[in-house]
């Protein structure tokens, strides 16, 4: 079919591409152009060919395929209700999570909290244990916040460097760099004046951050998000997620230039902010969509107080698999800083056997201690239980 015959179809494909983009799919004019070129080469009257042509060209990852598959029938069948679809990318389609509005509201409130005076945050109603440790991160001076920023970068670097098999120049090593030796050799007219060496280059680990933003974590969430933001900025190879009753990937949102901007974008992407917690289900969701992020070079950091209102069985299975697939699992728990705190909650009890490092994250000292712990390798780490 030639382009002229596609006629109105072009507008519909453009609109569909926009709808995909509104759902966070990486789909720009390039993709739409490819889709139109593809449609010229298949039989557009064959529904299967039509669908597959769009699917192959508009989407580039397995995760996005699911969004495509969910959106496609709404858009193209049985008779394409194009007029009723959102006209601009701001509106969201039918993939909306129920209760999202609520989540967005509280998220926005949370994002604005930085401009309010301190101590105005709501007190989460969980336990006496929590009240004990509230003094820490919840009230900081600017100077201290700045220091946290520096510390976070230092920690990030610690976590992020390891050896790799990629080579770089070195003055002394046991590996000869033949390529450079030959060059030197030539420069000196065929004699071998010196040998060039290479050594393994530092390799960056991948970090996966899973941050609890449920109600019981309210006090800490703000700082933890800052921690996550700084880490992502320092390391580069970081994937970040937040969860409460469900999981949201926030890597793109946090890639903003300023923390402020990042918070704004977060408020637009995260449903269920400050809701209840279902850690197990959220981690499962992570494994379903993002399992491929885990390998022996991955460090998984879970930031949560371990208050789980969900199924412990599920949490157990999720933790087992995360542990089996990744290089190291670190659990940061703000409550751990409280004197006399025992990780007795069912959730925490279930997760602990699969955690390599269980550390506090409630004040500066705890972050400093964490930096030291991270230097150790998996086998040598003593678990605090």
């Amino acid at each position: 079919m030639r382009r002229a015959e596609l006629g109105d179809l072009t507008a519909h494909v453009v609109a569909f591409g926009r709808a995909l983009r509104a759902q966070g799919v990486l789909c720009g004019p390039g993709e739409v152009a490819d889709a139109l070129r593809a449609l010229e080469r298949v039989d557009v009257l064959d529904p299967e060919q039509f669908r597959l042509a769009l699917r192959t060209t508009l989407v580039h990852s397995h995760h996005d395929l699911r969004i495509f598959d969910a959106l496609y029938p709404l858009y193209w069948s049985p008779s394409p209700p194009v007029e009723s679809l959102p006209e601009n990318g701001e509106e969201r389609g039918a993939l909306e999570e129920p209760g999202r509005e609520q989540g967005q509201l509280s998220m926005e409130r949370w994002a604005e909290a930085g401009e309010e005076t301190e101590g105005e945050q709501e007190v989460p109603g969980y336990s006496a244990l929590e009240v004990l440790s509230r003094k820490d991160f919840s009230n900081f001076t600017d100077r201290e916040l700045e220091e946290i920023g520096k510390l976070v970068v230092a920690i990030a670097r610690r976590i992020a460097t390891r050896m790799s098999r990629r080579m770089q120049r070195a003055r002394h090593s046991h590996r000869l760099d033949l390529r450079r030796t030959m060059r030197l050799h030539l420069r000196w007219g065929g004699e071998l004046p010196e040998l060039a060496f290479k050594r393994p280059r530092i390799r960056k680990t991948r970090l996966v951050l899973l941050c609890d933003v449920s109600g019981s974590m309210d006090i800490y969430s703000r700082l933890l998000i800052q921690f996550v933001y700084a880490l992502q900025e320092a390391v580069g190879n970081v994937e970040s997620f937040v969860f409460s009753t469900s999981l949201t990937r926030v890597t793109p949102a946090l890639r903003s230039r300023t923390l402020r901007e990042a918070l704004d974008r977060l408020s637009r992407t995260v449903p269920n902010w400050s809701g209840g917690t279902r850690i197990g289900a959220s981690l499962m969701q992570f494994l379903e969509g993002w399992r491929h992020l885990l390998d022996p070079h991955t460090v998984v950091v879970i930031l949560s107080d371990g208050w789980d209102t969900g199924d412990v069985e599920v949490l157990h299975r999720a933790m087992r698999e995360i542990r089996a697939r990744s290089g190291r699992v670190i659990w940061l728990n703000p409550l751990l800083g409280s004197p006399g705190y025992q990780p007795l909650t069912r959730g925490m009890q279930t997760a602990l056997p699969f955690v390599d490092v269980f550390a506090a994250a409630h004040n500066l000292d705890s972050l400093r201690a964490l930096e030291r712990t991270l230097v150790a390798r998996r086998r040598r780490i003593a678990r605090r239980e």
Partner: protein, 316 residues
Amino acid sequence: MRPTLGNIEQILQALEQEGYIADREIATAIYLSIELHKPLLVEGAAGVGKTEIAKVMSQALGTDLIRLQCYEGLDVSTALYEWNYPKQMLRIRLEEGSERTVEEKEQTIFSEAFLLRRPLLQAITHHRAPVLLVDEIDRADVEFESFLLEVLSDWQVTIPEIGTIRAKHIPYVVLTSNRTRELSDALRRRCLYLWIDYPSFEKELRIVLRKVPGISQRLAEQIAAFMHLVRRLDLQKVPGVAETLDWSLALLRLHRDHLDRESVEETMGCLFKHHEDQRLVRGPWLDAALAAIHEAQRDGEGLARALSRIERTLKA
């Protein structure tokens, strides 16, 4: 003009002729990749036939397959070109007494005669458009990925000593990834995307019948049904089609004509590479699954239709 494989229907046939059982989704992706001159990025679990796509494409197109196997630490000199050092060294030695200047000598030993072409350079200088398979791109470092992206965009490479080499023919490119690492958006956007799932019962049955000559319809059905069910278990490592074929061959070699507990236990190593997985399958699940498969087959119910019912029974 690059050769093509015709329309989607013809591609399906061509693949089938080469022994690759494809569905429309795969054929469409290959077709569009050829027609739109875009690399095809193929993702999916291990053992579903990602690499095979490049192989059968090259066979069906009647062109050569050039393969670049990626791994951690893969660098430009291994992927693109390398100088032949021993040959260079020898030439320097031979010319020791000559009057030529260092510059002249340098020009000689850094010429094409001393160049070792690695897969990427081979692919763009090939006498006809080859199929370039970049296998397991997710294993290469991010730096290599960006370099590859450059080559895939410009179809030319620059070798400082020689100059820029432009592609004579743009290769057909297939990239595969096991998703051990998230690929960059930039690379994804250069490519058409194909996700290959584990095959359906019918597809797997066709694959077994096609690839394991001499197997009976009955056993092939049992194998395909068993695979369908076992992939629903919570396994550490889900067996792929490659494992199915290994297993079928093993059963055939042991002269088994049907599945029972004994034959499964004997040949379990073909399918499950983790101790925990073996233990899980060996449990009561195995008897229930086998009984259900046999029953459905005996009643002539048709396994394809019975499968979801069996699945539900096993869950309960």
